[in-house]
């Protein structure tokens, strides 16, 4: 929405119709503008679009070039910064020996199980607190107090209670997902549009009808935002937990590479962690956008 309006503003300054806004600019700017316009007018729209496509790749390409040059010229020793080709080779080796798949699937399983437990509990907790003010009065202060302690603070405690086996990872990842999901669910219930509630009351809806026909449908999108946040947190804490206590998984690969001073392994694992995180976030974002699109229609109809 904001992006669209921003580009609309920009297009006003494009070569097509520059004169009206330019006239109002102070003298110093006026001198500069015509030259830019003239130059831009020569290049076709296709060229500028291609340039626009290309720009985001400039920085990564430059960094990669610098990295390559640095290792080629020996500015930094291979131990401190392994050459890009070496990292790529390690990544290919990991993939071809099946190590990558083994560790990635271990990580994915942990994060999925932990996330399902945590978000299930979170939605339930948020739902119960959102529907009943009494429950909220009893639970929310304690919940808020416990939330102040981050996952990392719980870790030594959980280590003592559960050891370093799988339950530890499930519990910590579930906790990481639980917090944002609960808070977003609760907020979703508090932020039901007043207008809709009034309509419900005007039509003499029963409490049950208000909940099932008004409150729940309007809470879906915010709850999904909570789920997305929860998954991001779960993925983040998975890496931490695996770094600190595990014998397989992507975080373990990083910790292992660090112990053996194999930075190529560390970097390859970091790339995989980043790629998986990005992929998951993008798919959540896609679903979220679709949900929100359907939602935006409701206030429009009412006005």
């Amino acid at each position: 929405m904001a992006r669209a309006t921003a580009t609309a503003l920009d297009s006003e300054q494009l070569p097509g119709k520059p004169l009206a806004p330019v006239k109002r600019l102070p003298p110093s700017a006026q001198r500069a503008v015509p030259r830019v316009v003239a130059r831009a007018a020569q290049g076709s729209a296709w060229q500028s679009r291609a340039l626009n496509r290309l720009l985001p790749w400039l920085l990564p390409a430059a960094l990669l070039g610098l990295w390559y040059l640095g290792s080629e010229r020996g500015w930094l020793s291979d131990q401190v910064l392994p050459p890009p080709a070496f990292v790529y080779q390690t990544l290919v080796d990991l993939a071809s020996t099946g190590d990558l798949w083994l560790n990635a699937s271990a990580s994915m399983q942990r994060v999925l199980v932990g996330f399902l437990i945590g978000s299930g509990l979170g939605v339930t907790l948020g739902l119960v607190m959102g529907l009943s003010k009494t429950v909220e009065d009893y639970l929310l202060p304690s919940f808020n107090a416990l939330v102040q302690i981050p996952v990392l603070g719980w870790m030594p405690f959980a280590l003592l209670l559960f050891g370093i086996g799988e339950p530890l990872k499930y519990v910590l990842i579930a906790h990481a997902a639980l917090v944002p999901v609960t808070l977003c669910t609760l907020q979703a219930f508090h932020q039901v549009p007043k207008r809709l509630l009034e309509v419900g009351q005007a039509y003499g809806f029963s409490r049950r009808q208000i909940v099932t026909d008004i409150v729940l449908p309007s809470a879906v999108a915010p709850i999904f935002t909570g789920l997305r946040l929860g998954f991001t947190k779960a993925w983040l804490s998975l890496v931490v937990v695996e770094l600190l206590a595990s014998s397989e998984g992507l975080g373990y690969l990083i910790a292992y590479g660090r112990q053996l001073f194999q930075l190529d392994l560390v970097m390859a694992a970091v790339v995989v962690v980043g790629a998986v995180g990005l992929l998951i976030d993008r798919s959540f974002e896609y679903v979220e956008r679709r949900l929100n699109k359907g939602r935006a229609v409701i206030p429009g109809r009412l006005v």
Binding site: T5, L55, L59, Q79, S132, I149, L160, A255, G257, G277
Partner: protein
């Protein structure tokens, strides 16, 4: 929703929040008192209180917490300053946003803690490495929120500025920055929260020197549940304190600039 439930009898409601903690402590006390479990991990509330008192009177504890806080704040300030600069560049310059934005978004996706091994190889295990890590943790939310705030200035404001013939500098100072302030505050606020989390993480993973995180790890390694519980509460309290500080500051700044909170 609140209109549906009756709001009579507000006085007992205020105490409802205390029911759960009190019951929990009572059960805990009963469990240790009656000896429901002979595990060494079930320590009594009295023992935790004694440990807390012992820690509060010891010099080592204060040294640990002050060095943690010093690292936290220096990382926070460095990260926030850099984040404001980067966020403003991203927010004001469309070209810069096109060149750097996508790379930054990708970078942001990589779990922060995955950087620790690289940081430890490049900067060692000491304070420098920790502060670098903390700055990174504080940087990300500030950049994101500053850039968002500047990008989402209502177009109507910008049109007014254009109609009045504001120069670019006047538009930035008089229109864009004030409109973006709430979002920028949110970023700084998040940075404070994140940097405290990262402080603990850095002390776990870059094990050297003293800090509250090291105290906690020590307790865990020596099976001292009382120390672990005490450390957890301290971490929670410090986080809560920083939270409160940031929120107060945010509110005061908003009042100063006459902005109604979102």
């Amino acid at each position: 929703m609140s209109t549906l439930t009756s709001s009579a009898a507000p006085s007992p409601r205020r105490y409802r929040g205390w029911v759960l903690p009190v019951v929990a402590v009572a059960v805990w006390w009963l469990a240790t008192h009656q000896g429901w479990s002979d595990s060494g991990l079930l320590v009594s509330p009295q023992k935790v209180a004694a440990t807390a008192w012992h820690q509060f009177t010891s010099e080592a504890f204060w040294r640990a917490i002050s060095s943690s806080l010093a690292r936290n704040l220096s990382g926070f300030f460095i990260g926030t300053t850099l984040g404001l600069v980067l966020g403003c560049l991203l927010g004001f310059s469309r070209l810069f946003e096109r060149v750097v934005g996508p790379s930054f978004n990708t970078f942001k996706q990589i779990s922060l803690f995955a950087w620790i091994p690289l940081i430890s190889v490049w900067f060692g295990l000491g304070d420098v490495a920790k502060v670098v890590f903390l700055s990174l943790a504080a940087l990300v939310p500030v950049v994101v929120n500053t850039c968002d705030g500047l990008r989402n200035v209502p177009p109507a404001f910008l049109e007014v500025a254009k109609v009045y013939g504001f120069t670019r500098w006047q538009t930035i100072r008089g229109v864009m920055l004030p409109a973006a302030l709430p979002s920028i505050f949110t970023g700084v606020y998040l940075a404070l929260v994140y940097s405290w989390l990262a402080t603990i993480g850095a002390e776990y993973l870059l094990v050297s020197g003293s800090g509250i995180g090291n105290t906690l790890i020590d307790g865990s390694e020596h099976f001292m549940m009382d120390l672990v519980l005490f450390g957890m509460v301290v971490i929670g309290l410090v986080g809560w304190g920083l939270n409160l500080l940031a929120r107060n500051l945010e509110r005061r700044m908003q009042r100063l600039y006459g902005i109604t909170p979102r």
